[in-house]
Subunit: 692 residues, 2 copies
């Protein structure tokens, strides 16, 4: 429990100082300025008073109990201070000092030593190299942090790996008069972890929204489990910096090479229901809306406007953001016709016209709030000087607390009418400067709404022969396995494969020819030959036995040094070429990929990734979200693909990867998918295993 | 000349009133509030005084000369008022009143009548249904407009088709303390046109940047000519609303159906050097920067930051926006090493660290300003409370006037340090809240910089036989022409086509077989059969004469009712399939399209459009900008395309379309492009002509 950290009854400061630029001084000042509710105990070996507080030479001299100690002294002195805190019975220490693990060597040793001492006394360490914590709860009001943005009460909690970014998030909220709930920038995570804090925020009823800034996830799977639970209750929003390629176990597979732009974070966030943002701005604007407004259940927006031109731009920007214009019901139109002015437009966007007064705005909001075709409302309000502006703002504000669908306002006004903005915000309705921002916020709220209202996820268990694969892999060492073995593994998992016969030498090739109907395909099968197609190890469309034998002779000459096996396969008919892959990523587990084959993968990088295990919804989404989706549906008179069988294969591959963690990578490439109802077949596969 | 409109020496108001909510009143108030430099003459038939000014019963009673008259009386009374203005010798009238062409019928007739009367007296009409004009020039200071955003002096001129959008643009500038130069929202354009005003802004030295809001271009080619001249001197920025499909002359061609999302505006803006924006916000932020900072010559940005986390986010957002991180020279690094603090990072982003003072910021800016590898500078400045913030702001501001590359600042601070923002802005350096905004502004400035510094455009004249095509088309009527005729037109323009022989009946087919080397392709050729491939009118890969005759017999049976001709073509080798098309768009002229064939066009809509005539730069850009560019370069071991011959074909097709305006549409589909140096060939073509 982190209560003594975020709700300390008393705080001591080791490194307290009268120098106003020192961390020890700034923290005392912040505690005083924000009215900390408990006693403050400066610790300073020389000065008997710090900022009018009695100071103590050691934490051991403090006459009362101490929950939390902030430490900002030289790094080498920290372990001794920790020892004293332990003896004193302190619950948590926050180490602001830098010069630990992040500098390596001696620093790393110091950090380890510090944690060992603390744990000896059952004490926890936050940091080091950390900014601190804040909690605006009026019963506590603790600002144990050395930064500068004033703290006011609010219901958005912030957890930031970079203190700088955390500060920026706070200051943008402060700038528009929004407070925060709790704040933490946790530094090196030597003991108290990011995941623990996130879990704590999740349990805090005072936090309606959580904002994260992440650079690296130290324990991604722990994060996934915690974030997943929380995001069903309240929104978790995140920006992650450094969107660059990450270190993967292997990049020899297609799947691996396509895993750019930190796919790992994407798949974890997606599975956890964490809404990811590219920019801080968009995250903050969305957090503000979610902190007071319900999330929409769909993406159908209705727009209320009092001017034509800006109304059209708002429509453009809503559609660009991914929203749809709601089709209003006849009931709504009849209601609006009765209540709005004669010149008003009763279609969406509802133009109440420039001379509309409070009663017209009220009617427009009421009509749209009751329309079952509307998921969210955007009000585009330009302050025309000839109407009752204050009345309009008050009417909009009244709807804040009773809204059953989110309302956002785009207010276009000048300084002297700034009070309109404050009035609307007081009603809990977010106000933006540009329709673009309002539209983006609504689409982001919708992303969360769809996640939250989705059915609980189940990971289907398919009927497979796991033991067969256990046995098969049991006999295999590290590295690529033969194609025949790989096909056997797929067979055991009920994954349809092209009909094929393994053969070595001319006699077996000839015999194989008997059991297949021509035309056939001949492929070489040896671990050493990885890119078969490029190396001339595949012969297609062999029409009869003679052509087959001739092709085999060519390959036999070329590859004789590897003494390879061969595979004879049936030649398949017209199909959509797809690719399915798995990359077992360190610390995260198998990530599965789906894409359209050939150029779509190579040039367009049109692929989808998900973290295993897959739910049916995951499999649906992987297929629905690729850009070349139309190919699967059939274009240019073609029949398209059998999407259902592809989903089934994805689920089975996910299970294969989960059941057998020795699978480092798999490329099913190509997987041929025939017309709807005609199934799909894996044509070629490569599997690489870890050592036993 | 629009001087009497934008620089009137005196203004009369017909419809002047003491009712503070009337347009006639608000305009007088706006003129007074902004200190109009000339006399104001209210015209009112009843009241002898309006707002303490002597009022006149008729404009004819005014004792002095009147340059400009604002009219806001009932629509039916306007023509008589115009007549009086004409008699008085007024130069310009602004008609605010609505109820003219936009309502049709009688209104349309009134509008026509109004213009006729005015022109009889050599007087010009602005509007009707218009907001008015403004000019902040201190010698004039005219606010002949009935809206509410206060006017201060600035150097950005605004021209808005929607008065509502115009107002929003003004208020966002006002909000951050920026003024404007001139403003116009021109309503119905019955006489004074948008293009005239644009040209006038272009000649006005007081305007450094022009912002446009456009819904429809009334005279696109006129706009193109004017905007093109201006944008070589000063930036012209535009938002256009209603990004929906536009009316085209024909949509039966591939090219036509792909012309979604108002391609016509895009091609005109591109040719005119007008920088288009999706959102008002981005346009305004870019205008602010361009109004005081030089445009960059390339996209290599250097970042100065005083914190790690926000610095990383700034890097992400610059790269996402399309900028590149500049590689600093060794000289720069040495300079920075000498001048910055020991802990500072000397690579890009340059982290001056949190404790940096004014001298360190100054050194960082100086170093980057002198580095030849740097095109622009983004300063990421978070207000750490323990340094000389005012000094830092002043140092940055000093660089404003002497910057040879643009500087933008992302300032992250709180209310109490708002003066920092004002200090930096006073230096002419734009300040943004988020790195994302700064990055987007820099990339938009770069778009302008690249246009402005590009060599003057030439439209190459290829050596072609225009007269041959004149003769050919002279014998043809409206509609699709035969393939043989289309090929003849291409031949005359030096465009390589597949070798083919036209043939009818078995004897000619047999004879054609003699002149071509097998394999060959047989195609039916009749106007009625538009989708040959779908209708079974193409037989590929015919190996010998017998196969050819057999294929012909099948088609002959199928198509006998059309009594068609046939074409026998050589079968081509491996090539990249591309598509080139032309759509002759009403009021604009031929728009040319290039894309990769097949799925890239059908599914990915991966095509580029340009307005004819093409420059060499246009042809280069069309090919460089498609997303599937890698296909042309060669992927998966393939040789790729002969890009030079594709460019040559594009230029020749552009010339064909320009020389023969009867060409309504052309689809060259496919155009096979062979390996580099091996040329390209048009395989199939459809041309549709207008009537003679």
């Amino acid at each position: 429990m982190l209560d003594p950290l975020f709700k300390p009854r008393s705080v001591a400061i080791i490194g307290a100082s009268n120098n106003p630029l020192s961390i020890g001084h700034i923290i005392i000042q912040n505690l005083i300025d924000h009215g900390f509710k408990g006693p403050i105990f400066p610790v300073n070996p020389k000065n008997p008073y710090i900022k009018s507080f009695k100071a103590y030479k050691s934490v051991l001299d403090i006459p009362d109990e101490v929950d939390l100690v902030n430490i900002s002294i030289k790094n080498t002195l920290v372990p001794m201070a920790i020892e004293e805190c332990g003896k004193k019975g302190v619950k948590f220490v926050i180490v602001h000092t830098a010069g630990f693990k992040e500098v390596g060597g001696e620093g790393e040793a110091l950090e380890k030593q510090m944690v060992e001492i603390a744990h000896k006394y059952g004490m926890r360490v936050y940091g080091p190299n950390s900014q601190g914590i804040q909690n605006s709860d009026e019963d506590v009001s603790v600002y144990a942090n050395f930064t500068f943005v004033p703290m006011t009460q609010g219901n958005i909690s912030i957890l930031a790996q970079s203190g700088g970014v955390g500060e920026v998030l706070k200051l943008h909220l402060d700038k528009i008069g929004m407070g925060i709930r709790m704040y933490a920038s946790y530094g090196n995570e030597c003991d108290v972890s990011m995941n623990e804090i996130l879990e704590y925020y999740g349990q805090d009823d005072g936090a309606k929204v959580i904002m994260l800034h992440i650079e690296t996830l130290k324990d991604p799977i722990g994060f996934l489990e915690i974030a997943r639970k929380i995001s069903k209750i309240k929104p978790v929003l995140a920006v992650k910096s450094g969107k660059t390629k990450e270190g993967l176990k292997a990049v020899s597979s297609h799947t691996g090479t396509l895993m750019e732009k930190d796919v790992t974070t994407d798949v974890i966030f997606r599975k956890a229901g964490v809404i990811r943002f590219d920019t801080q701005d968009e995250m903050i604007q969305t957090a503000i809306a979610l902190s007071s407004q319900p999330e929409p259940k769909g993406n159908r927006v209705a727009i209320v406007t009092n001017t034509g031109g800006p109304g059209i731009l708002a429509v453009d920007e809503c559609i660009q953001a991914g929203l749809e214009l709601a089709h209003l019901t006849d009931d709504t139109k009849a209601f609006l016709k009765e209540r709005l002015m004669p010149m008003a437009s009763l279609e969406n966007p509802v133009d109440v016209i420039a001379t509309a007064g409070p009663e017209h705005y009220g009617a427009a909001i009421e009509g749209l709030m009751n329309d079952p075709n509307v998921d969210s409302i955007l009000i585009n309000f330009i302050s025309a000087p000839f109407v009752d502006l204050d009345g309009i703002a008050a009417t909009i504000a009244e709807w804040g607390p009773k809204a059953t669908k989110p309302i956002v306002v785009v207010l276009m006004t000048i300084e002297k009418w700034g009070r309109l903005l404050r009035t609307i915000r007081k009603g809990g309705i977010p106000v933006y400067e540009f329709p673009e921002t309002g539209a983006k916020v609504l689409i982001n709220m919708t992303r969360y709404g769809l996640y939250r209202h989705a059915a609980e996820t189940e990971f289907p268990k398919m009927d497979v022969k796991k033991a067969d694969v256990d046995k098969l892999f049991g006999g295999l060492g590290e590295g690529y396995i033969s194609q025949a073995d790989a096909f056997a593994a797929l067979d055991a998992y009920g994954i349809p494969t092209v009909k094929m016969i393994k053969a070595s030498g001319e006699a077996e090739i000839k015999s194989a020819a008997k059991d297949l109907s021509f035309p056939v395909v001949l492929k070489v099968d040896a671990k050493e030959i990885v890119h078969k197609s490029d190396e001339g190890g595949i012969a297609l469309n062999l029409k009869d036995k003679d052509e087959l034998i001739a092709a085999w002779k060519v390959m036999d000459k070329k590859f004789s040094k590897h003494n390879p096996a061969y595979v004879v396969q049936e030649q398949l008919g017209e199909a959509v070429e797809t690719i399915i892959g798995v990359n077992n990523t360190e610390g995260i587990g198998p990530i599965i990929m789906f894409g359209l084959g050939g150029i779509f993968v190579e040039v367009m990088k049109d692929v989808q990734f998900r973290l295993c295990p897959l739910s049916r919804g995951d499999a649906d989404g992987m297929i629905a979200d690729i850009r070349g989706q139309a190919i699967l549906e059939g274009v240019r008179g073609k029949a398209g693909a059998d999407v259902e069988s592809l989903k089934d294969i994805l689920l089975r591959i996910s299970q294969l990867a989960m059941d057998h963690p020795r699978i480092l990578e798999m490329d099913l490439n190509p997987v041929f998918s025939f017309a709807p109802g005609k199934g799909s077949k894996v044509v070629d596969i490569r599997i690489r295993l870890a050592g036993k």
